[in-house]
Structures are given as structure tokens and as C-alpha cells.
């Protein structure tokens, strides 16, 4: 386990370094003058010069990169160009809202996907199977940027069951979480059904059946625990869709998370804030995948011993 842990940590470290460097390059080596982009070409020369000094842009790229790394090492993300507040504090204020939304969406996706996938595998020729196929297709083809406004229109405006937008009570969370989670639910249900059907043909499940276990028991008790590994992998891969999908969902429902902060920063050309938001979202994703990989290795000894994963 230690060898695997070290190797995986090393890879995560490389990813972090790559992300940090790429974000730096994106902001600093863009064609055109960032100061022009921020202030407009008609700005006073003195103002431009002041901003250039404030951002340290008059130094060479290498020096800027070194200073940037050193600042990041201290957890310093710089200051917003518009509010002059520390970027870190602005992000810390918004971060919990995004995590809350993503976690709720994930929970909702699992609550929908697991029963649906299990039921569809237990009764392959039933209405449930058809329903799960329907949900899978719907979730794959219907984008959140359309689903969100539609859910809002139906459940918040016409039926008046839930609040239209904003964050506060649990009721505020329902529509955004649905919007963000339904695509993942569809994917996980489909994956779980397929994996379960595969496992049902394996010998340990057939042994259980031969010993008198019913199909339902075979699916839930014997096949399900063995079908959860691919689900863990899929959750890790889909966490990316969840984090970047949050940007669209937050925009639709005026959810005060980091995605909306990023969009606001882009619209106001607040480059330190853009840089900070992109960094934090990407690093969250790297950390999440690290945790899931370690979880996977802990659950499945074949991985940490260097064999082929299931």
C-alpha cells in the first residue's frame, strides 16, 4: 500500500504543478496586452503603467513565474482588481456553496441511480428496465442549461412549489441539485445496470443462485458490492462534469458559488480573480480524484498490489 500511496501522491503532485503552471501561462502569455484588455485601449498611459506595476508585468516572465509560485506557496492568490479584496477571502466565502451544490447533486444522483440500476438488473424484461433506459437517454441528451430553466418554469413558477433562485433553505437546493445531478444519475444507472448484468454471470453469483438465493438476493447481496468499483471510478470521472457543470447551474439559479464568481471575474476582466477561481476548481478536482483513487485501492487490493483493476 505504501508504494502505491507514494506513486499516486507523486502523480498528484505532478498534476498540481502542471495545473499551476498552465494557469500561469494562460494568464501571462496571452496574445495582446492584458492591461489593455482590462482597462481598454483608450485608458491613460499613467493608469496602464500603474496597473502594470501592480501586477508585476514589467518584469520578465521567469521572474513573474517565480514570484507567482512563491506567493502560491504562502496561500496568497493576490488581490481582486476591482474590489481590492484578497482573492483567497472572496473564494473562501463562495466555496462552501459550490461544494454544497455538488454534494447534493452527487447524493441525488446516487439516490436515483442505485435503486434504478438495481431494479433494472433484477428485472431485465420489465417496466423498470424501460424506465431506466428512458432516464439514461434523457439525462444524456438534455443539457442542464435547458433543464434548469424548464424545472424553474414548471416547479417554481407554474406550480409554485419551490423557490425560483438563490440560496438559503433546503428547498432552494432542490432544483439546482436536480439540474446538476440528473445527467450523472443517468450515466451511473446505465453503468450500474450493465455491470450488475455482467456480474450475474460470474461463478460466485451462480453459486449463490444454486444454493437457493433468489434473483433479487443475488443482485443486491452478491452482485452489488462487486459492481460498486466501476461506480467509484465513474463518480471520479464525473466529478469533473459536476464541478464545471456547477458554473452553468449556478448562473441559472443565481447560486452564490465559485462558478458565478468566476463568471463575474471573466466579465469584469479581473484576472487575479479568474486565475484564483480556475486554480481552486482544478485543484479541488485533482484532490477529489486522489481521494477516490486511494479509496479504490483500499477497497480493491489488486490495485495497490500492482495488478489489473476489475
Amino acid at each position: 500500500m505504501t508504494a502505491y500511496l507514494l506513486r499516486r501522491l507523486g502523480l498528484a503532485g505532478l498534476s498540481v504543478f502542471g495545473v499551476v503552471t498552465l494557469v500561469f501561462l494562460l494568464i501571462h502569455v496571452i496574445p495582446g496586452d492584458p492591461v489593455d484588455a482590462m482597462l481598454g485601449e483608450t485608458a491613460m498611459a499613467a493608469d496602464k503603467e500603474a496597473l502594470r506595476h501592480q501586477l508585476g508585468l514589467h518584469r520578465s516572465i521567469a521572474v513573474q513565474y517565480g514570484r507567482y509560485l512563491r506567493r502560491l506557496g504562502h496561500g496568497n492568490l493576490g488581490r481582486s482588481l476591482h474590489s481590492s479584496r484578497p482573492v483567497r477571502r472572496m473564494i473562501v466565502a463562495r466555496y462552501p456553496a459550490t461544494i454544497e451544490l455538488a454534494a447534493a447533486a452527487l447524493l441525488l444522483a446516487l439516490l436515483v441511480a442505485v435503486p434504478l440500476g438495481v431494479a433494472a438488473a433484477a428485472r431485465p424484461r420489465s417496466f423498470v428496465n424501460l424506465a431506466s433506459a428512458g432516464v439514461a437517454l434523457f439525462g444524456a441528451a438534455v443539457p442542464s442549461l435547458w433543464l434548469g430553466p424548464m424545472l424553474m418554469l414548471i416547479f417554481a413558477v407554474w406550480l409554485d412549489w419551490l423557490p425560483v433562485s438563490g440560496r438559503g433553505t433546503l428547498a432552494h437546493l432542490v432544483l439546482p441539485a436536480l439540474t446538476l445531478g440528473i445527467g450523472m444519475a443517468a450515466l451511473l444507472a446505465r453503468l450500474l445496470r450493465a455491470t450488475l448484468l455482467e456480474r450475474l454471470h460470474e461463478e460466485f453469483v451462480r453459486t449463490a443462485r444454486a444454493k437457493g438465493a433468489g434473483r433479487a438476493r443475488a443482485v443486491v447481496v452478491h452482485a452489488l458490492p462487486n459492481a460498486l468499483l466501476p461506480v467509484i471510478t465513474a463518480v471520479g470521472l464525473q466529478a469533473g462534469a459536476l464541478l464545471s457543470g456547477a458554473i452553468i447551474t449556478e448562473t441559472i439559479f443565481s447560486w452564490p458559488g465559485i462558478g458565478r464568481l468566476l463568471l463575474l471575474a471573466i466579465q469584469t476582466r479581473d484576472y487575479p480573480l479568474v486565475q484564483g477561481c480556475v486554480l481552486v476548481i482544478a485543484l479541488t478536482y485533482v484532490a477529489l480524484n486522489l481521494v477516490l483513487d486511494l479509496l479504490y485501492a483500499w477497497v480493491d487490493p489488486r490495485v495497490r498490489l500492482g495488478g489489473e483493476p476489475a
Partner: protein, 272 residues
């Protein structure tokens, strides 16, 4: 492949995609009105015989705008898929066949790009470059070639140990010839299927970027931008959201169906 069974999924996908391409190519002839002519006195009108999808806030005919919108979606989708496939194929073939440090460098670059979740890198790239169709394509290519490269590399790793490659090598074929003549054709079916799904993904991504105001700029009609513009009128003019969204869903579903159908027909694995 020789079976004569009708494949409903393949057929449905083919019909949808062909119809969509037809609308995109012949939009000027098919659209009932100009997509940009404003009639401010007729703003937000609901569907009527003269305007089957209704009119937007500036009184423009929504049906015509949805039809013209297919051009942007398809253009971005097709160009992104083509460029990414060519890039991914070239890099994947070389990395997989050469192995060693070339492979290692390619893998690390892919890892770093994949460390950015979903659309985030595309959002950052188009935010820095400024919104335009060209930058959307560029941003999407940056994030989507990696998937093809990884897939091709994995295929080549297993193919290069096979007898026909050893035979070609034994006959004195150069690495370039082995890659081009023997390996590339083997991975092509898989690539075609993945590219079909990738096309759907690029259409969705373009809609997402345009929805966030980072994609196609007005007055060019794009479905994502139209849904964004409609947000303020959701209550009084829901048709402005409904119709562009339906067009988007049909397009994506069409490519998914085509991809699923092709996968069965070409008998390759791979996922949507």
C-alpha cells in the same frame, strides 16, 4: 457487418443528423424570415402561423434563428471533432508505437490537461482570448484531443505486439509505414464511433460556452446564446427557451443514436 437486419438506432440517428445538416446548409432558403431583422413592435410574441416558434425580445423570428443556429452548432461540432481526431490520432500513434520518453511526455501533458474538470479549461481559454467562434473551436480542441490520443495509444500498445506488425517489421517496413499503413487503419472504426460522440459533446460544449456569454456573440444566432438571452423572459415568453433547447436536444440525441448505431454496426467497443 453482413447481416441485413435494419438497425433502428442507426437509422434514426442517420435521419436526424441528415435532416439537421440539410437545415444548416439550406437555412437561407428554408428559413421563413431573416434571422436578424428586428421588429421591435412585435417583441416577445408567442407562436403564430406566420412565426411558428414565436418572436424574440427584438421581434426577430425565432424559427429562422433556430434554423440558422444549427449552422454554428454543426460548424463548431464538425471542426472540433475533425481537428481533435487528427491531433489525437497522430499523437496517440506516435506515443503508442515509439513508447519510451515520447510516450511518457505525451502522457504527462494529457494528465495535466485532464486535471481541469470538464469545460473549465475551455472557459478559461475563451475568457482569455475573448469570445468568438474561432476561439470556441480552439478552446474545445485543447480539451478534446486528449481523449482520442489516450484511446489510440491504448489500442496501438496492444496492436504493436501482434503478428502482422512483426511481419511488416520483418519485411523491412519503416516505423512511419507501419504506423500509417498498418496501425492507423486498425484504430479507424473505433475513432469514427468516438468522434460521433465527440461531435455531440462539442455541440453541447459550444452551447454551454455561448450560454455563459463566452461563445458566439450576437447577433449571430446560437442556441446556447439564445437560451441565455431568454432567461429574463422565462415567465412571459417561455417559447424563447423551449425551442432552441429542443433543437439542441434533437441534435445531441441524433449524434448519440448515430454513434450507438455505428458502434454496433462496426462492432467496436467504446463508450458514449
Amino acid at each position: 457487418m453482413k447481416r441485413q437486419r435494419v438497425r433502428p438506432l442507426l437509422l434514426a440517428g442517420f435521419v436526424l443528423v441528415t435532416a439537421l445538416a440539410g437545415v444548416a446548409v439550406f437555412a437561407p432558403a428554408l428559413a421563413p424570415h431573416s434571422p436578424t431583422t428586428q421588429r421591435l413592435d412585435e417583441g416577445l410574441r408567442p407562436p403564430s402561423p406566420d412565426h411558428p416558434f414565436g418572436q424574440d425580445a427584438l421581434g426577430r423570428d425565432l424559427m429562422s434563428r433556430v434554423m440558422y443556429g444549427s449552422r454554428v452548432s454543426l460548424f463548431v461540432g464538425v471542426v472540433t471533432a475533425l481537428v481533435s481526431v487528427v491531433l489525437g490520432l497522430a499523437i496517440g500513434l506516435v506515443a503508442g508505437y515509439r513508447g519510451g520518453w515520447v510516450d511518457e511526455v505525451c502522457l504527462r501533458v494529457v494528465d495535466v490537461l485532464l486535471a481541469f474538470p470538464g469545460l473549465l479549461l475551455a472557459i478559461a481559454v475563451s475568457a482569455v482570448l475573448g469570445p468568438s467562434v474561432r476561439h470556441v473551436v480552439l478552446a474545445l480542441c485543447v480539451i478534446s484531443w486528449t481523449g482520442y490520443a489516450r484511446m489510440v495509444r491504448a489500442e496501438v500498445l496492444s496492436l504493436r505486439e501482434r503478428e502482422f506488425v512483426a511481419a511488416a517489421r520483418g519485411l523491412g517496413a519503416t516505423p512511419l509505414r507501419i504506423i500509417g499503413r498498418h496501425l492507423a487503419p486498425q484504430v479507424l472504426p473505433l475513432l469514427v464511433v468516438q468522434a460521433t460522440f465527440g461531435l455531440a459533446g462539442a455541440v453541447l460544449a459550444e452551447a454551454g460556452l455561448s450560454f455563459l456569454g463566452l461563445g458566439v456573440q450576437p447577433p449571430t444566432p446560437s442556441w446556447g446564446a439564445m437560451i441565455n438571452e431568454a432567461r429574463g423572459f422565462l415567465l412571459i415568453a417561455p417559447h424563447l427557451t423551449i425551442f432552441p433547447g429542443l433543437a439542441l436536444i434533437l441534435t445531441v440525441a441524433g449524434f448519440y443514436a448515430l454513434g450507438d448505431g455505428l458502434r454496433d454496426a462496426l462492432d467496436v467497443r467504446g463508450d458514449s
